[in-house]
């Protein structure tokens, strides 16, 4: 019975809707539209990515031929090179700072600005403007401002204000948090604008209902605002985590990783190995490792989402 059910009459086979034109169009046409970008992606993303994996297992100097060395670069990276571990720790510290300070500042400022109607544009612009300034300008501006012999801090130092005689960017204990502060000064306004946009999409009825239920400002923020902007918040936490492993510009401009490697992060190591030490294969191994760290962060988000977390 089963056999007969699956058998098809020869005449019917002839008239089978032959991957009918409509069906073909439905399935194939979208692929045709996607094909150009897919090809470009293969060429400029997947190709170099595969090449980077290959070069990470060679002794390539960055120019000329490369000899395959297997996992020797990774062995050196994980077991012999203390600067790698040190740079990784700095990236983790950087991540911790950027997952807390700017996000908290952005949330607080956005929730304070959200109810403001008069002069709202002025405040938003004022807080957003640092984000459009080039990082090289911001870096030099702040390096001068906080220098104990010039700028605002220098002026205070001249007048004997305690604690202003410290070159924050010249001490190993303070250099990384100081650069993070400068980078954050530029970054948090952008977060604030995103959070503000998210808050303005929350239906006002929800706030009204919360107030009718007797919620105070904190309860309103915790139970209405935060859930309302969760997609934006989670996305920015994810992106901040990724960018924290890739950070380069401010550190390079201000200290180039110094003093004594106290602000050296993985991307600085990649640059130095690739362009100063002629160790492009080793630099590729560091780059691949950075990608793995980022992959781990993304995987955590994916797993949590699959487990039902609304993120």
């Amino acid at each position: 019975m089963r056999d007969t059910a699956v058998q098809t009459h020869p005449s019917l086979a002839l008239h089978r809707p032959r991957w009918s034109r409509a069906r073909l169009r439905r399935h194939a046409v979208p692929w045709l539209f996607v094909l150009p970008i897919l090809l470009i992606n293969l060429l400029v993303v997947l190709g170099p990515a595969v090449a980077a994996v290959y070069y990470s297992m060679t002794d390539w100097s960055g120019i000329g031929a490369a000899d395959f060395v297997g996992l020797a670069n990774y062995q050196e990276l994980f077991f012999e090179d203390p600067s790698f571990l040190s740079a990784f720790v700095h990236n983790v510290v950087w991540l911790a700072m950027f997952l807390t300070v700017p996000i908290a500042m952005g949330l607080i400022a956005a929730s304070l600005l959200a109810p403001i109607r008069r002069g709202a544009l002025f405040f938003r612009l004022a807080l957003f403007i640092p984000y459009v300034l080039p990082s090289v300008v911001v870096a030099h501006l702040w390096s001068s401002l906080i220098h104990p012999d010039r700028g605002v801090v220098g002026w205070l130092n001249e007048r004997g204000v305690p604690g202003t005689d410290i070159a924050l960017l010249g001490r190993e204990s303070t250099v990384l948090p100081t650069i993070a502060f400068i980078d954050n000064w530029r970054w948090w306004g952008f977060l604030m604008v995103l959070f503000l946009a998210g808050m303005q999409n929350i239906p006002p009825d929800l706030f009204e209902a919360a107030r009718l239920d007797g919620a105070n400002r904190w309860q309103e923020f915790r139970d209405v605002t935060l859930p309302g902007i969760r997609p934006v918040l989670v996305f920015m936490i994810l992106m901040t985590s990724i960018w924290s492993f890739l950070t380069f510009d401010f550190i390079w401009i201000i200290t180039q990783g110094g003093p004594a490697g106290a602000s050296e992060v993985l991307s600085i190591l990649v640059f130095k190995n690739a362009f100063q030490n002629f160790e492009a294969g080793y630099a590729a191994a560091i780059g691949i490792t950075m990608s793995l760290f980022v992959g781990v962060v993304i995987s955590i988000f994916v797993v949590l989402r699959r487990r039902g977390w609304e993120i």
């Binding site: 100097s61 960055g62 120019i63 000329g64 031929a65 390096s143 220098h147 012999d149 010039r150 410290i166 070159a167 960017l169 010249g170 001490r171 190993e172 200290t255 180039q256 990783g257 110094g258 003093p259 004594a260 490697g261 130095k272 362009f275 100063q276 030490n277 002629f278 160790e279 492009a280």
Partner: protein, 451 residues
Amino acid sequence: MAKRAGPQQLAAVLVFVLLVPVAAISGGSLATRAQDKSTITMWLDSTSGSETAECRIAAAVDPFNAQSDSVMVEPRLQPNRWQATQTALAAGEGPDVVYTPGPAFATQVTEAGQFLPLDAYAEQYGWNERFAPWALDLGKSDGVLYNIPNQVETLALFYNQTLFEENGWQPPTTIDELAALSEEIAAAGIIPFAHANQEFRDANEWFIGEYLNHVAGPENVYAALTGEKPWTDPEFVDAISALNEAQQNGWFMGGVDRYYTTTFADANAALAAGEAAMKIEGSWTVADLNTFFGESGSEWGWVPMPSTSGDAIYDLGIGSTVSINANAENPDAVAEFIDYLFTPETQARLVVECGDSPASVPLEEDALAGIDPQYAEILVAQNEASAAGGYGYTVWTFFPPETRTHMIENIERLWSGGMTVEEYLQDVQTTFDQEVADGAVPPIPNRSLTG
């Protein structure tokens, strides 16, 4: 209603009609001339602005293009030229005339087979007679010439002469005198050395190189570079200890944190204002000194960097090298331009008009008329040192790249107490041994070679 053309409009039309054929003829002939010439490319670094690059074009490229019947050089301003060049060479591209930041970098590119041998051109154009032998030796790999060393530089002790005269201080000649004077200057509430590395961490290598050559002696540095002596020997321990002591005493800009966060402009301003007394730096600083001292009304002076023996030692550095890209379509044309670039006349123009350091070619004294007299003195002294073979070895010229990076970075760990002098030198030795095995050490000219 149509307007009638007035006399002025008619005159304008007439001028246009007359000029078009003239422009077409002259433009056509120019175009034809340009087409007849082989076009070669070169990149000029414009990371710190385009002024110097444009000056070099005016002093070297434009005159060459005007006088050559067969070659046309197309210059391009390129920020971060070295990084761009590395990337382009890796892709089999890049300019025909390739610049590297020095022999250590050039060696790597040569090993990768990206440069053409120059021996035939050296023969054809007489470069072997024109350049100091030690300089051409630096451009060789396995005895074959690939790179022409450009911009020979040296370092010296610069000081605020007015401040010295006011305080009755004498410029030191020995390392002991330098240390004693530094103590005296610091006791007077003045910063002994206007040293800083905020904008350029690699500035550390200036002081490492000076202390190695002037405390341990250039013969010992030569022996270590050629593998006849380990870097961990007591002479080098003494040298690095002396450098560490200077930093720990707060002699460099008043303390290590200030050293890391002061710009060159602020350091020069402090020196000119008499807030600092001296600085060890390369001959390239003369233009800045003239600017800052000109504003302050004080005078600056210079002496050779003091040494243990009291002998004048000039550490030689090569600011860049010039080579022919292995993928150049017309290497003969590139060689013709390189020959022109290194004629004494072109080098003199680059020195006088752009403040460049010259290559190791003989320069006529008349051709250098107009340059700062103290700069002229330094050039003469460095040329004499190079000719006599009694020179020292700068880190960026004679040390392999990874050893150089370790030296620059770990000296900060030493200064911060994270390393001892012995650990620092052991790391130098380990890294150097590895680079010797990898063939990454630049060719060290035989010390007996003289100009």
